[in-house]
Assembly symmetry: C3
Homo-oligomer: 366 residues x 3
């Protein structure tokens, strides 16, 4: 083509359209072959991928149930409570949850609270010199009760506003260190996990077939020696997450127990075993350690002789273990691979059929 101005050539290039030269073969054999191939592909995509596999549903197809049972005894010795035993009914709160459990490891206890009047805990906003500093009925979210309007003596040095509250008030102090239930590190937990792929009618539990009652009564999980024992020592779990149990126990925290089922359902189901990993979930950033750990308040309610309600308030620090089960992946993955592979073959067939076309063609055109 003759040389032109740049602009012209670009413009020309823009309005240029390149299309493959098409050879039309009028042949019963080839035509049929072509249509059949097309039919095959369509049938495959619609029938197999969409109808049969429903691959996009697999992700919600896995069903899992988790139950946990903690065992262990802790002994505490405090001025308030004296020598006291803590068993599972005392330190698991609430007694049952869907897929997590909380173990009490440390606590601040306030005994014999009753609904009455007492001076607020000294804190900016609650200090006072005379009643004028206190507003009757004011309820500060940082406070422990509703102010009566009186200014009363809290200690030799302090005067604070009087409140209607559960008295005596909880003292705002740091949790004991070492933690009160330091023994908790030796508690063990049996985690029972059953999974099911309804579509494949596949069931499995983390208590493997060969595990018998006697083994289960004395085994403790250990990556090397007992990788299939579903009983875990709390300290081991925390240690695997590169945390120190006693340190974590002081302010509490959240641990993640991951159970992974990566089963190839085409393989013998005995190959399908759970893998356990442990992680600390709540952030304990040394740089910004505002509001660390995990704690909450709960109370035990009593009625004393003259039918008056009293309670024991407990600020409980502890470790919550969230059990998370992963298993869908496998199925989805299976499906993806399967699909791609099969598709690939069919595409190949097509490719070959093209090749055939040329042969047929060459036969037909003398």
């Amino acid at each position: 083509m003759a040389p032109k101005g740049c602009c012209a050539s670009i413009c020309q290039c823009f309005f240029e359209y390149s299309t493959p030269k098409i050879l039309i073969i009028r042949s019963f054999k080839v035509g049929t072959l072509n249509r059949i191939t097309q039919a095959l592909v369509i049938a495959y995509v619609i029938g197999y991928v969409c109808v049969l596999n429903k691959g996009y549903q697999d992700t919600d197809a896995v069903l899992s149930s988790v139950t946990t049972k903690v065992k262990g005894i802790a002994l505490t010795n405090t001025s308030d409570l004296g020598l006291r035993i803590w068993d599972v009914a005392d330190y698991i709160i609430p007694p049952q949850e869907e897929s997590s459990f909380f173990v009490l490891t440390n606590l601040l206890i306030t005994l014999n609270q009753t609904q009455s009047h007492c001076p607020e805990v000294p804190k900016t906003g609650f200090d006072c010199t005379s009643d004028r500093d206190c507003k009757a009925g004011s309820r500060d979210t940082r406070g422990n009760g509703v102010q009566t309007g009186k200014c009363v003596r809290y200690s030799a040095v302090d005067k604070t506003c009087e409140v209607l509250a559960w008295c005596p008030l909880e003292l705002d102090k740091e949790p004991p260190n070492p933690p009160m239930l330091a023994d908790a590190e030796n508690f063990t937990v049996l985690i029972k996990n059953s999974i099911r792929y309804p579509k494949f009618n596949f069931n499995k539990r983390n208590i493997l077939p060969y595990v018998n009652k006697t083994y289960l009564e004395q085994c403790v999980f250990n990556r090397i020696t007992d990788p299939d024992c579903p009983i875990f020592r709390l300290k081991d779990m925390v240690t695997e997450a590169n945390e120190d149990f006693q340190t974590m126990a002081v302010h509490g925290g959240v641990m993640g127990v991951q159970i992974r089922w990566e089963c190839d359902l085409d393989m013998p189901s005995s190959w399908c075993v759970p893998r356990y990993t442990f992680r600390r979930l709540d952030n304990k950033d040394p740089v910004n350690n505002v509001a660390p750990g995990y704690n909450f308040r709960f109370a035990k309610y009593y009625k004393n002789g003259n039918n008056e309600e009293t309670r024991t308030l407990i600020k409980g620090f502890g470790i919550r273990f969230d059990v998370m089960v992963f298993g869908q992946v496998t199925v989805v993955c299976d499906w993806i691979v399967l699909t791609c592979m099969t598709k690939k073959n069919i595409y190949n067939e097509q490719k070959y059929s093209y090749v055939d076309d040329f042969q047929l063609l060459s036969n037909e055109t003398p």
Copy 2:
């Protein structure tokens, strides 16, 4: 082509097969180039997409932990209880849950129940005129106990079947309006959320680095002034969901607190901040408002002087806040975009290489 019958032409068209004319280039340069390109694509798809990225696993890769802590005091004044303070240990039931918390806002209380005999609450099926109308041992699911077979006087006008139950029975009445714990609207909740993408070893919490203790002690979430404060006023959350707190508090309900982490991990992690949205989850359809709200019964158990068990039954109405964390999306999205982009480039390369082919071709064919 000569004119034919319609049917014939269709048939012909059906058995027609069109294929591009193929030009076979026998050239070391071109061939190599071609194979290399193919190898590149295959290597990319297998190696990068499948092995490295494992995109299909990203969805289960995000780990999140949520802990909540409610603060606030409510004051009630009823004939049953007199002046009474409600603090967190009283109105959070159960004291801890995995990723939700329930705040008691309204209640019907039945004091000093004991296991004894009393007349059923008047209701169709429980009214009677003589013992003949009552069937000993019958336990109606709508009833409160097991019938003794006696027909006793409930009030001046009513006679009902006697039951063995926790007596006195709870009266079947509407919850108080305004709600008893109307003060709950001023309660605040600190929501601590830590997320982690193990694969990317990326950690983040919703208490942002610059948030310090003093700020955290007095801040309250506000879209405009304090968008990063993780402390929320209950009323604000409900209002953002276009609901009226006091109305919702009467019969209770369920609120959803969504925390979205849409982080591009290629960007500085300081850009990765949570977005909070609030929605009412339980339906309050004005047209069909059958069984509205959320309530449940629980009891506090006591033993009186002569070691007899008594309990206080509470029908608690309140708002359950379900905290939901979304974060996987980002990663999956990243992956999708990334993949598409990279693919596109490679496809482009291919496209160019085709172009090259033609140039090479033109050089080769004098």
Copy 3:
């Protein structure tokens, strides 16, 4: 082509490159048509699929809330407790959970426990003949307390190590059969489920519009007669999972209640109804039935006359019902189908445009 050595021909084949013969059409009409088509496709993919649809986000778009309310009365008659009524506040533990509920069906009760000394339960490791066999301070995870070092008489025949514990200790025995709360099979549960697709601003609850208060008060779910009644009899749920309620009630277990919302949002929303399925989630493998069922311990705490804490320990066996809501699928599916279809059309257009090209071509080349 002339016959050659095998190796040579393979090598040749390897360096062979086949490309379609390209016909370049220089035509304003055709070029423009071509560019427009390309623009269309690009616009569609970027604009519609990515920006508008955000298909990959749909999976986290569904919001669901579940609340449950159990009704029913059970009567037990034991030597410990005498004739006793159990109502919802007694047998639902904890009183509220996010999306599951536990119904107590069987129990072992230990009354009036106090912190004191008593002989361990006879078990290998706890039997002794003299104090030398007992180690003061030793706390075995299988034990119930901390050993005092004394060896005391447990029964006429047995001597065991004395422990500091909640005494008297719970006897290690099988749960009663038939289960104590056999009546639980007639309990009913109202399951309220609301779903929402925020993106489509679509709300729906499982209490369908036509269901009114009177119907809801007396209906019980039945696949044939009452498929839309959200009130389920516990026994029916267990039976649908091909389990026997009374058998399951003895040791307890975990049931899965699946609610499927498979709604085509293009159809009238009245077609969008939930489907309920019930499955037993925990494995009850007859071959390997180690640690069967589901149970946990909890306690009720009292204070006796002289302000000493006593408790009633209950080892509770029961059935936990986990409610699982599936609904995302539909949306994702919609989106997939939608996308593919639309793409297909556009591709078709392209195909046609190619065909047109040829016609245009034939017009242009006389």
